[in-house]
Subunit: 558 residues, 2 copies
Amino acid sequence: MTKDNSLVFVALGGAGEIGMNMYLYGYGPQSNRRWIMVDVGVTFPDMDGSPGVDLIAADPEFIEAQADKLDGIFITHAHEDHVGAIGRLWPSLKAPIYARAFTAEIARLKMQDAGEDPDKIITVDVWPAQVEAGPFKVGFMPVSHSVPETSGLVIDTPKGRVIHTGDWKADPTPQVGEPYDEALLAEISKDGVLALVCDSTNVFSPNPGRSEADLVEPITQLMKDATGMVVATTFASNVARLRTLAIAAKDANRTIVVLGRAMHRMIATARKVGLLTDFPDTLDARDAGDVPAENLFILASGSQGERRAASAQLARSGHSGLSLRAGDTFLFSSKTIPGNEVAVGYIQNQLARQGVTIIDDEGGKYHVSGHANRPDLERMHEIVKPKGLIPMHGEYRHLAEHARLAEARQIPSVVADNGAVVELTAEGPKIVEHIETGRRYIEGNQTFGALDGIVRDRLRMAMRGLVVANIVFDENGNLLGDAWIEVKGLFTDIDGVDDALQRKLEDDVTKTLEKAKRRVREDDEQVEKTVKARINTMAQRLIGKKPEIIVMINRVED
Amino acid sequence: MTKDNSLVFVALGGAGEIGMNMYLYGYGPQSNRRWIMVDVGVTFPDMDGSPGVDLIAADPEFIEAQADKLDGIFITHAHEDHVGAIGRLWPSLKAPIYARAFTAEIARLKMQDAGEDPDKIITVDVWPAQVEAGPFKVGFMPVSHSVPETSGLVIDTPKGRVIHTGDWKADPTPQVGEPYDEALLAEISKDGVLALVCDSTNVFSPNPGRSEADLVEPITQLMKDATGMVVATTFASNVARLRTLAIAAKDANRTIVVLGRAMHRMIATARKVGLLTDFPDTLDARDAGDVPAENLFILASGSQGERRAASAQLARSGHSGLSLRAGDTFLFSSKTIPGNEVAVGYIQNQLARQGVTIIDDEGGKYHVSGHANRPDLERMHEIVKPKGLIPMHGEYRHLAEHARLAEARQIPSVVADNGAVVELTAEGPKIVEHIETGRRYIEGNQTFGALDGIVRDRLRMAMRGLVVANIVFDENGNLLGDAWIEVKGLFTDIDGVDDALQRKLEDDVTKTLEKAKRRVREDDEQVEKTVKARINTMAQRLIGKKPEIIVMINRVED
């Protein structure tokens, strides 16, 4: 362990996965560093790995344990995977939270939702403004992305300047918010950059990224050509897209109706901070009944097939009195995130059933990505000329490819996934340590570790079904009545007899216990072991499956 | 109800979904038809909808109830979604099963796996051979697909000829098995075709399909250029691809090792029926340790990311003593089926971690689809000139688009999803009736209906976690001891106290029951209702979540 001051970077989440971003920068001797945190995001649960969980965040335990050394939390932009856990995790972190106006508003809503004080969020100005946080000075450099006011961070440290790009794309005409400004980037980089910590999402996309502005003409044409109602869905946070869609609809003489809480919230927030001065007027859905279909445009949340969102409801049975008819058009102005294909396909089939024309991405005609493609990344490497590059925001294969890209340009790089502590030096980045990382599950009003065994038990019950055996012994260790079996999540008919499984298990367990030696019957552990073994054997024989088993032993005393 | 003889088609599975194909053709008056069945496939369970289930088939109840009127079962090809349920469903169907040699061998293995007699499968010759089954005469017309000997069925009926394509593509050079033969199709169609029942999978693919032969050169080149070991995965049943990969490997001086039971089974079956006379010799994996990496080729099962298959094992920790190193190449000669992206991505990340070069589909360079694209479908419509077209093998949106395609050519069509009884007439197809259809879950040694509530209970336990309350009353309806609470799949620490949830629920339920009126305590239903309500209220307060609850009430009598 060295006593020298060093500058380190460590991902608690977001490196080796796409989602739940949470990064730390530390400065000082290894035993006593001051820290800042960048982003406090979530990822979403699924039935395969985390049934019943509400949200998943990176486990902040490493920094919680030294929260007094955390000098600030910086939020780069308002996407859930960067800001979604701030409300729930802040109580154990307590540091001041900094963000630009739009992001700050969204972060305040997250604090409110969690019952925390929204005034803990401090709104900061764009670069060249800087925030001092311990040994760090942090500025918000505008980049473009798919949500307004997305910022890269310029982090000045005693060891030099670091650029943390956050999520970014090279869009000179993003429609809402500041453009990506290459001249500014060059200016910020001109005195040397110690390390570039950079988005890797689209490193496998070979062509230069396209601008949000490229969508205006095709979307406008679509609105004009469509004969019936037009519905469009996209990510609610893509305010520029909402604006493009709404203005195109207005130009095509369509009245605009917005459906879905997330979209209303984003539009209201963007207006509140002065970002959406030219968003057309909208009509309440309940007043839209009289508008002819060909003069109507619906902006609906739920582009990923979320079952309760407006798009799914519209496709299923209508929403707020509005419903679709043959000849209407449904535009997916969005990309389907891997894992959501089935849910999106389900909506599309429901639309097809109603004779609705479905228009999806069609090779980028109606959607552009929010992330920098491979040539854009190369261009940034060229402009910033960092002394080292650390790929972030990617699965392992993205990080590895991004590191190769940097090294091809003689920029030293390391592939550092969650928990790798990287020292940033003038000779390049170097992994010096590994700390434990993991996932924190957020559920109801609790949070717990992914490895606590809770979700494992849920998955077992889901895969195996459940048998509960209830046994009552008297004070002499003799059975009081028969064993009682309850079954949940198992097929219990055998040879056409209802609940035959329970009856047969009850008979068998009762007989087994009656025949058992007294020293077995008097020992709860032995009883449990014996009962489980019998149930497993019998269930395998009767239904071909070993269930999850709970044994409850009552001993009645006089 | 008409007493006239009519010819009908009905899908029990496979129309309105991709998977679990099961089709019926019926002839006779509505009250007394004779039937044949085409295909008895499965679809695969998932955690979202069917956790713990082994396989899913279409519910055959409609035909089971009149199994004495089923004159034959015809299997078009050896894919799981066409043959996978034959062994498990045959006992309630009992009709003779017909298939060509390769398919018949696979079907026999399915019968054996289910403990049924493999000799029930009858091998039939290719067209112009025909099988008589009640009022039907059925011939197997060779088409091409991604498994050997795939056949369309030529079904002659008293009302005219029907062509049931099965899965098909227009491949004149499929590498293994007969080519798609347009002249034969024209010959079969020349006297008029009453109805064409046709694969719709790729109706949205705008370009003509490509041949299996197009892959030979790129794959051969890849094998030669690669410096380390090469691993390739594809669908085990794609025997032509296995052959292409193996021959290319041999040409590049590589010894071939086959990993995975499914692949061994397919290769052995193809050889047994004389289809793979030129497959190169293979080496047992256990003897491959001495072969230099650059002279080794591994053909591995598990292209869809299946956790227990050879590809996943290789990526994780090696398989049969073989493991991957930096510089080795892993080729996905396959398409990722929607829903499997995350599982495949998981393998790719593990490979990236080991420095393995990953090569995937790359715009069709190393994989071609087994289904006819839009122009191929149009060409078939043109050659067959049917009096009516019924789209099958597609989700609703595929069926609807395929019907539009036919109608654009003045071929009458209907979109008939599962359960629609379609009368086939010279004036075109007509939906005349709807029957109930559904899903049959196959699990362990049982089968049960998807709507039996079993899986619903599993999903509830997985989403909510479980609380079991065990209560013992004496003969007077007084509590004997405290209520006993067991919890599974819930976070039970409150304010840092282990199992606090159980203790608090026990206290609360005990007090509630002690205070309850005697007439409540003496009534099991009232006790259950009271206990559930208390647990829900308390759990919501303590952990913010309402669990699934089982209440077990014991009444001890003297």
